[in-house]
Amino acid sequence: MQNPDTAQPHFPKRRQVLTAVAAGGAAALVAPRFAAAAAPTVRPPSAAIYPKAAFLRRSEEGALKSLYGMSTASSSTEVKVDAPEIVVNGAEVPVAVDANLPDITGVAVLAILNPYTLACAYKLPPGTGPAISSRIKLAQTTTVVAVVQSGGALSSASKQVKTTLGGCG
């Protein structure tokens, strides 16, 4: 498979040059062979969009207020959060979120008793599904809350995860 990022700059080999010239295809010399694929350039995102303040909050209200401008999320059965009941090591806890709501624009995962409440947040453009799985760290036995932003409202679901070892030290 072609991989423009890991591939070295493509310099034509001598025999390719000769073939190209023989074929009269001078243009083939200028453009790398796989330029036809027109793969978009991948740029790293800007750190400026990072909601740093939200990640420094030490309460659910504070984190939500900072992230979404609303401090409370109503508990909803339309939001699902899946995490293990008990984990030996809090350093790697799989958390899967899903929701059955229209116009979802954001998903956030919070661990209430972690040093900083907010674990991760996602911005969803139209077309992207709310089912997001990732792995987070838990400092101790705590409630994990999934918050879904849809149509300007916040809905949440929570699940207690018991840890026998912390992941945040």
């Binding site: 498979m1 072609q2 991989n3 423009p4 990022d5 793969a39 978009p40 991948v42 740029r43 790293p44 995102p45 800007s46 750190a47 969009i49 990072y50 909601p51 740093k52 939200a54 990640f55 350093a91 790697e92 806890v93 661990a111 972690n114 040093p115 900083y116 907010l118 674990a119 991760c120 947040a121 996602y122 911005k123 969803l124 453009p125 077309g127 992207t128 599904g129 089912a131 997001i132 799985s133 990732s134 792995r135 987070i136 760290k137 838990l138 400092a139 992941g167 945040c168 030290g169």
Partner: protein, 103 residues
Amino acid sequence: MKHQILVHATTSGGTTTVEALVKHPMDSGFLADKNNKPIPAHYIEVIEFTHNGRVVLTGFWGPAVAKNPFIKFTFAGGKSGDHIGVGWIDNKGETATKSSNIM
């Protein structure tokens, strides 16, 4: 490779599922090394996924995201061979990008 990103994208029934494994220490800043010296915080702040150049997911990660983060999500559309891009920036300003294709 220091900043390896593994991406696997498959499409079925008009929905594309993207799975990514990102190599990163994700140090929270709360832990100390074996000489009791604090390990400074070092974690990915923003990760962005694109499909043919269009952003399909922006993730904001805090220090509580596990080491070598894994993420799985879906988006509508996408066909085999389409371009999937991943890029991230961490709190030290380090970055990495990866191009892949839907299987």
